[in-house]
Symmetry: D2
Subunit: 424 residues, 4 copies
């Protein structure tokens, strides 16, 4: 782990500049009638979960190019996640993926406590076959034509809940790859009926204070049809299952050009927005770093969240979900956590009373200018000051690079050689 002295040393050189920038921004916001301290307090209270699998190098179906010091298991992963939170103070929890991270609850809890983290939503996996698995998911899992295969998938999800209970998780996220590659391969209706039946059984096993998050995705790994292909189907699922069932929105899982912030608004309006997987995409489910391609879209999503925040029951879960193919995963996750905070801070700056007036008066130009006024404000000093005051790094990437952490773990953890993806 990174020693606090390291962080303090890195902050020493940056503190003067930060103070000047923060003071100037405070004065500027004051001229706009905004109290910088209030914004900073909200930012400081914000956290986004890190996915355990995100600290390993990702890959494509063509190849995976590992980096030095790849985590060997969930304990290494928690170590890496701890570093991210230590430096950013923005990622207090980790989301586990089972069976990849399946370990005794006591060991998980102990390690989490050691690195100062808690556990977010549990993620089940019925889109791959595991070595010891009786029945294959080649043709589906929760929606498989074979009842025994569905049962196997149900049991796995219930096991995830069981482990989750022991480590303080409060949600299960189900994403499946079930679908088809050919017109006619499946009967859309019967397949969805099977899905609903199976998922209801999982739902029934859910503790009262848990949420079931189902995740839609337009395509991949299925390339003609996917059972939970969009928010319409996802909404139907949540409606059919009950109050504890809500929809998870992954920003990269929609058709080209779709207005995602509007989907966020619709699900919010009908009480079915359960959470997010933040990332960014240019083409398909690219799983790029959140805000790296279209930062304004991310802002517009947060604009909806701030808009809805007056409702005390509105409390969707926030998680990063990215594939880090060409960067150090720890660096990408630190920057991404910051980008999510940034969008949040910018959305907080929007003058909502004035916006409502413009909307009522159909003053489109002024309404959009109000959003832009929030978006184009450089809130970096707020984010940095919030980190600094919480003991984190003013510049997390610089502090991380200076710390030598990657080299240190690379010395401990065995090198992994490059490998082809799914196509070979």
């Amino acid at each position: 782990m990174i020693h606090p002295d390291r962080i303090a040393a890195a902050n020493d050189t940056a503190e003067g500049r930060l103070s000047a920038d923060y003071e100037a921004l405070g004065a500027h916001l004051d001229r706009r009638g905004i109290d910088i301290a209030a914004i900073k307090a909200k930012v400081a209270g914000y956290g986004v979960a890190v996915p355990s699998w995100g600290v390993g190098t990702g890959g494509t179906r063509f190849a995976r190019f590992p980096g030095p010091g790849e985590p060997r298991d969930i304990f290494d992963k928690l170590e890496d996640c701890g570093v991210i939170h230590k430096l950013t103070r923005a990622t207090p929890s980790v989301s586990l993926h089972i069976p990849w991270d399946a370990q005794p609850a006591a060991d998980l809890n102990s390690k989490a406590q050691e690195v100062g983290l808690t556990f977010d939503a549990m993620n089940s996996n019925t889109f791959q076959d595991q070595p010891d698995q009786a029945l294959s998911y080649k043709f589906g899992s929760l929606s498989h034509t074979d009842a025994a295969t569905r049962r196997q998938a149900i049991d796995h999800n219930i096991a995830c809940i069981e482990l989750g209970r022991q480590i303080g998780s409060k949600a299960l996220t189900i994403w499946i790859g079930d679908g088809s590659n050919f017109p006619g391969q499946t009967n859309f209706t019967r397949q969805f009926e099977r899905y609903l039946d199976a998922t209801r059984t999982v739902y029934d096993a859910l503790p009262d204070d848990w949420t079931l998050l189902t995740e839609h995705k337009i395509y991949e790994p299925a390339f003609y049809s996917t059972v939970v292909q969009d928010w319409g189907t996802n909404l139907l699922i949540a409606q059919q299952l009950g109050d504890k069932a809500k929809c998870l929105v992954d920003l990269g899982h929609h058709a080209p050009t779709v207005n995602i912030e509007m989907i966020v608004a619709r699900l919010t309006q009908f009480g079915k927005l359960g959470g997010f997987h933040f990332n960014d995409s240019k083409y398909g489910d690219d799983d790029l770093d959140t805000g790296s391609i279209d930062p304004y879209r991310l802002f517009l999503v947060f604009n909806e969240l701030v808009e809805a925040a007056h409702n005390p029951d509105f409390n969707p879960m926030h998680m990063l979900d990215q594939s880090h193919n060409v960067t150090d995963p720890i660096e990408s996750l630190m920057v991404s956590a910051t980008e999510v905070q940034r969008a949040y801070a910018q959305a907080l700056l929007v003058d909502r009373a004035a916006l409502a007036e413009c909307q009522e008066a159909n003053d489109a130009l002024m309404a959009t200018t109000l959003l832009k006024a929030g978006f184009r404000t450089d809130v970096e000093p707020i984010l940095a000051m919030a980190r600094f005051e919480a003991g984190g790094a003013i510049d997390p990437v610089a502090a991380y690079r200076a710390s030598g952490y990657r080299a240190a773990v690379a010395a401990e953890r065995p090198a992994v050689s490059g490998a082809g993806g799914g196509i070979v």
Copy 2:
């Protein structure tokens, strides 16, 4: 109108070839265990509505290039629609658009009877301002921020119902252009609340045996957000309003790559598929002739319809909705009616028992081959024979061209000069 003798003369030359083709196809289908006469009977019983506006030349925002003999009013349009049905025997009804076609019910009924047609769904128009209109729809209609404007739109829709009752229509189709062109211009949630409120008032004015069809569209004329942007929102509308409210699917109104046949299946499964606007698209809402770009997609939609047909309550409405920019609209509509029939006939040929078995066994290759076996069968002889036996033309376009109808109406109806579209 086209005299039956004309049709008979055209058929005379084509009949021999048709008989040979029909007989050969009958023999072939017999080898596949299919009774050609049964298929022909279903095709003969199938009809698709023609939109009154479809017989005029369409245009884009850049220009409209009228052809000779453009219809001057709804009576000319009904005349043209009569020709289409006379030749194809596949388009027994016409869908009116108000106020374009607003005329005394008695006159409409009388003309319809004269040309042998009935009236399909009524279409309201709150996406344009009419010369005598009190309030503008520039910033919306049923979802406008101004209550008086919403009321005006509601009243217009109720007037459409009233006229529809008098001419035997049983459905009102609502498509609105409401949305926004800038992030922030509208509050998604409040806009949708206003839409639901206003539309509920229209719904409440609906006779018991009527259906309210709402139509979703991803974009255009609004270019950042649209109130009823996709089937998810459309489904919410139908759920909120009640049993008489159903969703209309226009094949050109979806995001790129979206699996439309799956949407058809989902709406069917939950009892909310109300009807179709058939057309084809390559890029956006191109309103091209149905089946002209991707005929297999059209077939896959009909595959769902045939799959669902065992349910006696399943009875969605079928309508063409195209913009004919470079063809004689009558020719395009005749060919399009035939293409819809073709997809239906091909879907009827699919061996559904075998398909269900393949699906159950996850035999993807054989399942898709069974669909293709239906699709690649050349059912033209079945369609032609059904037309012929019903008094229509074996080759409608050839008969139409031979008839001189276009030249005749061009002599009667004044020429319309070319004009710019919305951009000038």
Copy 3:
């Protein structure tokens, strides 16, 4: 026109805040090693052309909803364009569209001088039929199968050049709608051969110091194929015609998800980037205000332009091209000119030496962070100060609204009633 006193009065109230913001930004940039005055000087020297048609309210194929005070002719349009430049100091030239703006050169020159503007590229129009036109463009213009129609289109383009010479223009922009709506309607190859032949005749009539800009567009008004559908075909045109022929990139004319900044880089690399039509889009050719949907994409385009600026021969033309359907066109154009300047200023802030080092070292995270450091800087004080020092308004929209200009012209210019678009 807006009196300078008006502007001065508006600036009086804003100047104090601007000074404070500018000073603070100067201090911040100084801490980053950047001289704010140098950036301001470049911004002050930057201008973007306004399209004459942009000051009228746009429309869609469904409808056009005019606003008060619509310009009646090119002289009204120049008046409006003068206001935009007066307030923003960023739009020194106007691009004409013929025949919409065809007037005696002397009158155009005199009016332009009066309002303080010059003339940018000439735009021809062979995508609409004009009342007095001998042959129709319904089936194409420069690529029409009929030689006389092609000749008519050629002659029109040559007439545009002729008028342009008399008013100081140095470029002709050709955008045509030629294409097809059905597979098979045209022979792709012969159609393109005809296009190249016809365009070569126009090219040959070009003065030596002129540029011919051809513009690609994936679709609309043609919905199956378009002759100049993408930059590949556009490049072939420029290669075939010669050195004076270059490609114009309209940001809204590409397929979904396409990387536009990369096209800019490729055309630049091969000496064929001729100019831009700036606007923004979410779905198709939405012609929304530039930077209103994806401001980072606009920044990335300017990042390429700044990257290429070391080449003294690199001098593409910059023009806005938008459709203002729901805003006051003058306001939209003022904001848009500012947005283009903003992207330019942000791109100027990127540390290019550090960027090149990161690129060489494959430090993807730091490279993209360097771009973001430019993008997220709030350069508004630089833009505002540049305007202010040049006699423009610190807040152009506020000054414009305060001026009462729109009400004044609405009193003079007759009201235009709402009208349907191309579809009726």
Copy 4:
């Protein structure tokens, strides 16, 4: 291998029906003035290459689900390819992928002769790291910033040529994954310069009678930019390198909605169409079975090829390139070879003289009807008869299933267990 007696036995039961269908189709085509024997002869002369990697089960980044009897090496793969050709008589050659298939030329030649196949284009691989590889392709290969890495990639390509010479190949296909995942990660221009330099070195090593095929792809595995992203860049490459360099078009490598047949026409017109990778896609590079999603699009591509066939120098290479994730790869490849033949046969049926007349007269409706007349003809009897007469199976899938080949090789070849894709 499958014994001819097996095929004969399977054909015995199908021959009667085929004869009847073929005779009926012959009579029908005769009524349309088409000689069925001439079409059959062209179909019989047509062949499409099979990719060696296509006979293994494919996968996605999420998982790969192998089937029984997966080929262990290139010799097993050639065995499987031999079966495909034996049954379909449509796949006379195999395209190798190096290093996956790198084996002594003598062994390859001997095995190919044994199974009755020849070798098509060679495919290099610089998108993965191999165990014994000195330098990583994580950040690129032919366009890498490091000269030694580029040299390694060049040498590998030259080695592919060398092996290809010894086994009778006449082409090298280069597809690389080089690109970037973040704005700013690479300098577009310098990266492309490096690519051109490196590829020129490969080109210079090409024998005189060889073709260099470069393949464009919009995205994946790079998710922000790809060096050879579209046909425009691909064309530039072919232009820069010389006459032996041509463009390869993979049907799944384009942006959504792009008109691929038009790209085929453009590259043909300028002498730069080198070959195809046939497959189908609904969303991204789905690598689905060719013709399984949009068979009309495949037909329209072949329509261009038949249109261009009058040029004796026009001879692009044809290859399948698919990922078979849920089917028996041998079955998918047999069906796909048939689909390609089908599109070719249908395109041959188009009345080109009549089509040219309609195009000249702008008779869009009749022109497209002429294409449809070819497309909707069920040419299966022609394909089946061509296979039958050449010693293949009338119904290849039925014959294959009856043969027990899969079970036989599954008994010989060790089972492969399911595995995650690139993401774990």
